[in-house]
């Protein structure tokens, strides 16, 4: 964080959607984000509702678990990229307990912008979230100008 290209207030104002079927994990993420100062955080434990929520909220960043009953993370990644416009940069950070290289490769190939294994380091996750949001804002600024 040597150079602050985007004002931290602008980043903290970003809308974040966290999807994980495990209540405790969603709570943990909410807790971390709240402590960082994020104000627009939405949590979801039912993956069947994920796509409509995504479309409704148009979040700046999605925190996504992979292994979920009924609709899993991979299906959601595909659905998100189908829904978004081609020039949209809406980063997805995958947070999963599946540590296999296959899962990592597949998620990144389907459009996930970053990948963190559970159990994760709280501070590291906070930093990655901030980085991804900063990138999105920079991209939007470029596109707008």
């Amino acid at each position: 964080m040597a150079v602050q290209l985007i004002d931290s207030e602008e980043i903290l104002a970003c809308r974040i959607l966290a999807i994980d079927d495990e209540e405790a994990n969603v709570r943990l993420l909410a807790n971390i984000l709240e402590r960082e100062g994020y104000r627009d955080v939405h949590c979801l434990t039912e993956s069947t509702r994920a796509l409509e929520t995504y479309i409704a909220l148009q979040p700046d960043l999605v925190l996504l678990d992979l292994m979920m009953p009924e609709v899993d993370g991979f299906q959601l990644l595909e659905a998100f990229s189908r829904h978004d416009a081609a020039d949209e940069f809406r980063p997805v950070l995958v947070l999963t307990a599946d540590t296999t290289i296959q899962a990592r490769r597949r998620a990144l190939a389907l459009g996930a912008k970053d990948f963190v294994s559970k159990p994760f380091d709280v501070i590291e996750v906070g930093l990655r979230i901030a980085n991804l949001l900063e990138t999105r804002r920079l991209y939007e600024r470029l596109r707008g100008s």
């Binding site: 495990e22 709570r27 599946d98 540590t99 559970k118």
Partner: protein, 650 residues
């Protein structure tokens, strides 16, 4: 002595080359014939000479008669003239005057006998006297035409006397000549007799010579050749040869060669018979393979023990039967003929399928039919080798099933591991995450709560390490872990490992030593796994070296390029010898986990062993002096045996 000599001569004769013998045989009668001709010629010329002598003797006689006749006629004529004085009585006288000298000269030349020559000189003289007396009488009668008849009477008387003398001389000569003629005749007879004898002897000798030559030939060569021919016939029939003397000539050499050929043939025959016998025995005794022969139509002509065992038919039940009876109903109509046709076309035909035994049960058979052909390529029949594959087919099916099950089990295991991983990590995520948040806010907590949070996070991390190691081992054992081998420079790898290992060792209050290998060896291994094993061993050494001073990491290369041995040693208390065999067992911490100071999952060595083995290496432990020495080897096959030996020593 003489017998020995003749035997020796006979031997020398038989040892001569055939060309020499032929020359002798032809030359001997020819020489005898030539001798006979020469003697005949000599005898014939002697006879001619003798006949000439006889002829000459006759000529001499004739001339002597003529001398006598001329003188007698001349004397008669002269008497007539003297009495009548008629000239016509002088004709014989004048003829004698002319012919006498010529006849006497002829006689002079012809006479050879010395006695006759002497008589002849006397005859000449008397003849001259007679001629002189006749001449005188004629002159007397002519001149004295009137001469007294007394004178004439005297002259005629004298003439008469002279003529008597001549006659007696001639008679002497005639007698002598008769003797000479008899001698000549006797000589001619003698010569002729000798000539006849010689001719007879020549004929006889020539005949005997030919007989001798034929005898030599027949007893020597012809007899031997006929014996040799007999031997050749024996050889052709493959029978044992008659022993013949081995002379040095062509026949003798031929005998020797024939003998050798026979010996060689016999040897070959014996070999062949032995080999055939052995082969037949082998075939007969083979139990696991049904081996039998078929004629061109597929009729069984031989049957072995294996065939009996596999198919259930006895030899006498099946000989002369068609082999299609070994096929089940559904293939009997076409497959046997098809197999024979394939074997005929390609030399052999192989098939695998159901066949039937005598009792009607089926077995899975592997069948090879081979066409048997004679040296001209004409089909003689077929050899059929049948193997009962029922058991193997059954075990193959079982194996296939087991393999499928294993694959399914492996898949299930991978699936299970993946799920377990997820299921264990998910709650841990919450535990560690909230724990970490509490740690961040530690200043807001009481001392007791701080300690509790610390315990929660420490236990959580331990649980995570445990899960990681366990899943690592499981996934490697399930074949799910990816090993990415590459050629690694050992010294460079050790230097990299030092950067990671040194802080671990230093935090335990120990000195870190590094021993680099001589030269620049390299190993074929997965870099990340190799480092993981090294750090694991170094971590263990640092953890368990209580009261020691150092932990040493190093490597050494086998001199023949047979691999590289990595080692981690320390000067700590070492391992209880009784527990060494449990070192690499999962969760077995040898009771050391009782100590409060040491902590670990108990999976480190088990994981290290799995990793080293997954890279084709060996891992082991050797008691140090003092302390512990863990080593592992990576590299060639040669390493394996050495490692086993060392493990036994340990």
């Amino acid at each position: 002595m003489s017998a020995r000599r003749s035997a020796l001569l006979m031997r020398i004769w038989t040892d001569r080359p055939l060309a020499f013998k032929g020359l002798v045989v032809v030359a001997m009668p020819l020489t005898i014939l030539l001798g006979s001709l020469v003697s005949l010629y000599l005898a014939s010329s002697a006879e001619t000479r003798a006949e000439d002598d006889v002829r000459r003797a006759f000529a001499i006689q004739r001339d002597i008669y003529q001398v006598h006749a001329l003188l007698a006629e001349a004397a008669t004529g002269v008497r007539g003239y003297a009495l009548t004085r008629e000239d016509r009585f002088l004709v014989p006288y004048r003829a004698a005057e002319i012919e006498l000298p010529a006849t006497l000269q002829r006689l002079d030349i012809a006479i050879e006998d010395p006695v006759v020559s002497r008589y002849f000189v006397d005859l000449l003289q008397v003849t001259e006297e007679k001629r002189a007396s006749l001449r005188a009488t004629v002159e007397l009668a002519r001149s004295e035409e009137a001469a007294s008849s007394e004178a004439i009477e005297r002259a005629l008387m004298a003439n008469e006397l002279t003529l008597d003398t001549v006659r007696s001389e001639i008679e002497k000569i005639q007698r002598r000549e008769a003797v000479v003629l008899d001698e000549r005749r006797a000589l001619v007879d003698e010569v002729r007799r000798r000539f006849l004898t010689l001719t007879a002897v020549s004929g006889l000798v020539g005949l005997l010579g030919s007989l001798a030559a034929v005898y030599l030939f027949s007893t020597g060569i012809v007899r031997r050749v006929s014996k040799l021919e007999h031997n050749a016939e024996l050889l052709a029939r493959g029978e044992r040869l008659v022993d013949l003397p081995q002379e040095a000539d062509e026949i003798g050499r031929l005998t020797v060669k024939l003998g050798r050929a026979s010996a060689l043939l016999r040897e070959r025959e014996d070999d062949l018979r032995t080999s055939e016998e052995r082969f037949r025995l082998v075939i007969e005794r083979v139990r696991d393979y049904g081996i039998f022969t078929l004629d061109r139509q597929g009729i069984v002509t031989s049957w072995n023990l294996g065939a009996e065992r596999i198919k259930g038919w006895q030899t006498d039940e099946v000989l002369g039967k068609h082999f299609s009876r070994f096929y089940p109903d559904e293939t009997r109509d076409f497959l046997p003929a098809q197999m024979l046709e394939r074997a005929r076309a390609n030399g052999s035909a192989e098939d695998e399928g159901w066949r039937v035994r005598k009792d009607g049960t089926r077995f899975w058979a592997n069948v090879v039919i081979t066409a048997l052909r004679d040296e001209n390529g004409a089909l003689q029949g077929f050899a059929k080798v049948t193997r009962d594959m029922t058991e193997r087919r059954r075990s193959e099916e079982a194996l296939q099933l087991a393999r499928e099950e294993a694959v399914a089990a492996s898949l299930a295991k991978s699936e299970f591991l993946s799920r377990t991983s997820h299921e264990l990590r998910t709650p841990l995520n919450a535990i560690l995450g909230f724990g970490q948040l509490l740690e961040i806010d530690a200043e807001t907590l009481s001392g007791r709560h701080q300690e509790a949070v610390e315990r929660i996070t420490r236990a959580g991390r331990h649980l995570l390490a445990l899960i990681n190691d366990l899943l690592d081992i499981s996934s490697i054992e399930a074949g799910g872990a990816e090993i990415e081998p590459e050629s690694i420079d050992v010294a460079a790898l050790l230097r990299e490992a030092r950067d990671l290992a040194e802080p671990i060792v230093a935090s335990a209050g120990l000195r870190f030593d590094l021993t680099l290998p001589a030269g620049s060896p390299s190993v074929h291994a997965d870099r990340r796994r190799l480092t993981q094993v090294i750090l694991n061993l170094v971590g263990n050494a640092a953890k368990y070296n209580t009261g020691g001073a150092f932990v040493r990491l190093g490597a050494q290369a086998a001199p023949d390029g047979g691999g590289v041995t990595f080692f981690v040693e320390d000067d700590g208390p070492g391992i209880d010898p009784g527990k060494v065999n449990r070192l690499f067992t999962a969760f077995d911490r040898l009771g050391q986990n009782q100590r409060t100071k040491t902590e670990g999952t108990g999976l480190g060595l088990a994981l290290s062993k799995t990793l080293v083995q997954s890279m084709g290496g060996e891992i082991g432990y050797t008691a140090g002096q003092p302390g512990a020495r863990f080593w592992f080897r990576l590299g060639g096959e040669a390493v394996r045996n050495e490692a086993v030996t060392q493990a036994q020593e340990g």
